[in-house]
Symmetry: C2
Subunit: 475 residues, 2 copies
């Protein structure tokens, strides 16, 4: 019997590998120019040999993690040494920003070689990062059908199903028996990845139903496909939104699903692995957006690239901070008289920001999973204002007492308590309004929500606290 290679997934082992690879790459960098290579492009330098032997057995997905974990120079060195037959697979696995750094180092011949083993939809995924003349040549190397598939995939936006569907379809007719289907399948060298169903079409390629393999395997060989095929079929259109499609995969536990055009002709299929990427990216995008990063950033990007990726939200933040500063400026007279106000005002602003961010995060999540619509938002107002009132009474009282103890001034304590409660209510109202309004406008509710709410609770908090203090503490 053949020896089986069981492998327990161990991120620790990969991370040990990465550390050793980084050390080796660092040591090789200064001497790389002096290495001599044989015809196969190999060197007998011991560091080179060890590095190759570490890189060689890596799965493309692990190689992608290795490359993402390395600083730029080391990354490029390792990329040069990587097994070229996997190049295309690795390029598909790395993040967009890292892919750019890798493809920049590749010549036309290398790019063409990397594309060779990829399917039409995979080529389309990489085409955006390739020089135009290379894409043209890749297209020329493909047959008519694949050329059309690549162009179809390229014609859709990144967030449309058409851009992530693949074309590896196994389709059958409805009027044949299971026996015939099994014989037909046996003629394939291999079935497409993730094949959990075959698509049932008529002579014009119009979808009639799907036959799950699970059902095929337990059915009487003489049964007709039309008798056993699934009648409830979730279908997708190439112009559908990818995030919503991923939700459907999650809800209905799909592995693959057909993509059809408006006249229900079968044109492609969606697979769970592409959907998992969508789910992962969606969660990340919400997080990045809330923090004010434009897009996923290469950890080891040059300083200038990072500055570019982050400047927009920093600039917006500065503008809102400037507004808050001018609000304080309105009350400089009051602060001059009671300087304690300057020390206490950030507390009022801070609790509003923190509480508003909690509200917004909860709502962004609920909007993403379809739990919250406009009518539901109405109910939330009441609840969030209730939470704000409760928190205002609890924390406002505590801070009121502390302020009184610090400054021996009852008025300051009372103003503190009232201002905190009012700012918490403001945070609740705006915390519901901002994401719900963004959603209604068709915008991403996560985008900059956090910066916006902080802008309101800062300026609002300063205004409420200093305003109340000016009215009640300065006669």
């Amino acid at each position: 019997m053949t020896e089986t290679n069981f492998e327990t997934y161990s991120p620790e082992r990969l991370s040990d590998d990465i550390e050793r690879i980084r050390e080796l790459a660092e040591s090789l960098l200064p001497v790389y120019g002096q290495l001599t290579f044989d015809e196969q492009g190999n060197s007998d330098h011991p560091l080179y040999q060890e590095l190759r032997s570490l890189l060689h057995p890596l799965h493309p997905a692990d190689m992608a993690t290795v490359l993402e974990s390395l600083p730029l120079d080391e990354r490029i060195l390792v990329w040069k040494l990587a097994a070229p037959e996997d190049d295309g697979e690795v390029l598909l696995e790395v993040s967009d920003s890292v892919r750019e750094t890798l493809m920049e180092t590749m010549g036309k011949e290398e790019l063409l070689a990397a594309m060779e083993d990829l399917s039409a939809d995979e080529v389309a995924d990489l085409a955006a990062d390739m020089p135009h003349h290379v894409v043209t040549e890749v297209l020329q190397n493909r047959d008519e059908e694949e050329r059309e598939q690549i162009q179809t995939a390229l014609s859709y936006e990144e967030n449309q199903v058409g851009s992530i569907m693949d074309f590896e379809l196994v389709s059958i007719r409805a009027d044949v028996s299971c026996e015939v289907v099994l014989r037909y399948l046996r003629r394939f060298e291999q079935l497409p990845d993730h094949t959990d169903k075959v698509f049932v079409v008529d002579e014009d390629d119009v979808l009639q139903g799907v036959l799950p393999i699970r059902k095929l395997l337990v059915s009487d060989p003489d049964a007709l496909v039309s008798e056993i095929m699934a009648k409830d079929v979730v279908i997708f259109h190439p112009q559908d939104n990818t995030e919503e499609s991923a939700q459907a995969f999650e809800k209905y536990d799909l592995i693959t699903a057909p993509v059809v055009d408006d006249t229900r002709h079968l044109i492609g299929r969606l697979t769970i692995d592409a959907m998992v990427d969508v789910i992962r990216e969606e969660g990340e995008a919400d997080m990045l957006n809330m923090a004010g990063l434009q897009e996923e950033e290469d950890l080891f990007a040059p300083v200038l690239d990072s500055v570019k990726n982050r400047w927009v939200w920093l600039a917006i933040n500065l503008c809102t901070a400037l507004v808050a500063s001018r609000v304080i400026g309105l009350f400089e007279g009051s602060i001059e008289k009671i300087v304690a106000l300057a020390a206490l005002m950030p507390i009022v602003a801070g609790i509003g920001g923190n509480s508003g961010n909690q509200t917004i995060t909860m709502i962004v999540r609920a909007l993403a999973t379809g739990q919250l619509d406009m009518t539901g938002a109405k109910y939330l107002f009441k609840k969030e204002i209730g939470v704000a009132l409760a928190n205002g009474v609890i924390w406002g009282s505590i801070m009121g007492v502390i302020s009184y103890v610090l400054y021996h001034n009852l008025g300051i304590g009372v103003v503190m308590m009232v201002a905190m409660t009012l700012n918490l209510i403001l945070a609740a109202v705006v915390g519901v309004l901002i994401p719900v309004t963004l959603e209604k406008m068709g915008r991403d509710p996560a985008l900059g929500s956090s910066v916006l709410i902080t802008a309101v609770t800062d300026s609002g908090g300063f205004f409420i606290f200093l305003g109340l203090a000016s009215i009640f503490l300065l006669h």
Copy 2:
């Protein structure tokens, strides 16, 4: 030929349904006590009839979304009307917090009925929310094997593979032919969900390999399983971490995978749908944690529950705000002399907080995907400090000029610029240190990172700005 029900996934239609269901439930609530029911528990009230007809065709996952979208009273009404045969499925689909509100309304008999059609691993998922005596009874209703499976699943932590594996195993011997395997499979009434491979075991249930169905279908019927079974097998142990296992599913595009004990006995399997839930929850947890929410919250939770879920981080935030306030207090003398300082200091603190949050978010993400280890963090320091310097020069200069224009004081402009740059550098250093240290301590790097960095950049920003101003502007 049978009529096929094609269904395009449409979140809009579901959300229209939800709105109508909410209206109906609202109108029914006040009159529900007066309804008369026949023996089947149905009423002929038109609103009741319409509500039933809307609820009846819903998939359990859509029913879960409906329930999550409804305020408490309406939710309980709809739950009473929901088709009882799907109760168990729906309970599995709703979020933890909503599940509690539903199960509280169910009597023992209803709970037992809901459990009836669930598999052992599903029962284990729900057991935590059931009263102890109901769990005991559920266990009594199962056979010896299932009882053991449920107890096995219950013995693992929520973040361990053992708690989410299932027991629906199809296993075969290595010394039989494909023909025999196909015949064996045909004897099943149906194969377990997601079956993309069968497990090859010896007479002691020790795993020998796996036979992908895709391979079985294209192989010669006379070929032996041992000849065609997969030799590279990713295996999991019940004590493995679920998030790391989900990463493995993502990397290696798995649909199902075997779970074995230390002596490689096959005890269960992992499926992609459970892994997708882990990936979704992981992303959500990071977001919630960064915003300072303890756990996913029922949108329509009573005010008191929400206050409880959020109070810890509000309290921590208040403590750090108090510290920042005391830092300002140290410089009250300076503020009294130059009251402009009070207006400008939040700008310095704010840009530090914003920039630090960008750094932290990027690092939390990189740690989650295994791209960053301790050695890599060293490189990041240099880069992030570079970014901070660049931003300090750009934004510091702009704000310096604005401050100068506003207050006609060159000193204030210069102090502003220097303080902003220094606080940005502080934010960069601490933004790398906090998540990396939390990770090193084995804690979740997302947990409260955002509150911690803001604490440092607030107190630090006030101290740097007011300190510099006191030294250079007040002689």
